[in-house]
Symmetry: C2
Subunit: 193 residues, 2 copies
């Protein structure tokens, strides 16, 4: 039989929630590497030492943030979303402005900036995109002149935006691929952390 939820559990979940929320905001604002534990803890109103305690290390926090935001995406559009009006990827790009999408774009852009081996993950991300938009959007409609790096950034944003807008079934999006790629990209780069 399952245990009842205790006040301890509630406190733990609340702390994690606050930290993840604060980190998501700051990562989107300043990027992953430019955001320190002090920044996050200050915004969340929790002590700095609690971050590695909860998430092991900074990458663990990023992982929690990514997973959380992917869940936000899966939850669908905000109330009042209208029916899709087009099927080109350019239109899908418009939805990159969604907060969750903004975060992923920022993270990917940062990965490119710090020189992560983004090409290694290109194929996988591309496959994820194709799988996601196969039903409604032709992946071939993407602008062909962009560099692989920028292309990938756009792809991920598109995966998110397309999914949110056209309500592609969750099974159709290989979110695990997106998640793995983002984490690997930010982990690989050299830097102060």
């Amino acid at each position: 039989m399952n245990r009842m939820a205790t006040r301890r559990d509630e406190r733990t979940q609340e702390s994690r929630r606050l930290l993840v929320a604060a980190a998501a905001e700051l990562f989107a604002e300043k990027g992953y590497r430019q955001t320190s534990f002090v920044d996050i803890a200050g915004r969340a109103g929790i002590s700095r030492g609690s971050i590695p305690w909860h998430f092991g290390n900074k990458l663990g926090l990023l992982e929690a943030v990514v997973d959380d935001q992917l869940q936000v995406v899966l939850a669908g559009l905000p109330p009042g979303g209208e029916e899709p009006t087009g099927d080109s990827l350019d239109q899908a790009m418009g939805f990159i402005r969604l907060p969750a999408a903004r975060l992923f774009i920022t993270l990917l852009a940062e990965a490119v900036e710090v020189g992560s081996p983004i090409r290694e993950h290109y194929a996988r991300l591309h496959a994820a995109l194709r799988q996601a938009v196969r039903a409604r959007v032709a992946a071939e409609a993407l602008p062909p002149g962009t560099t692989p790096e920028a292309f990938t950034v756009l792809l991920v944003g598109a995966v998110i935006g397309v999914h949110a807008q056209w309500r592609v079934a969750p099974e159709a999006v290989d979110l695990e691929a997106v998640r793995t790629a983002i984490l690997a990209l930010l982990q690989a780069g050299p830097g102060r952390a």
Copy 2:
């Protein structure tokens, strides 16, 4: 080579000091069993959970209190103490009013009250007294009509008072016997703890 004292050490020692001081006061006021962790923690301004954390259990705290107060006794009289003026145990009894002595008296009285097997320790305490006052006071001068329990209480108080007043050499006082007896007495009795 020994490590430098850190702020952590200081905090630990300060917390222990506050708790021992608060416990010593409350034990002397209300007795050992009637004093709860909440009482002690409240007076010390420290959380209740810290007491067993620092001292293992309530008896560990009592042990720390006893040791601390014995050290106070060993430290000698307050400045300005005059030379001893008498050598009877009755005079020594006057010093039972010393705060440290008051604590021990209270603890022993409580041990008697809860029915600890105080007689088992009588011989040892008596020997401690004889050893302490041999140089200046005749143990045989004690009032002979008192009950063994009250007698023991008085003995311990006298050990402390005599020592403090006449500056008996520390080696002459079997403080370990006093300490052991007090702890054993309070530990043995049945009670709510």
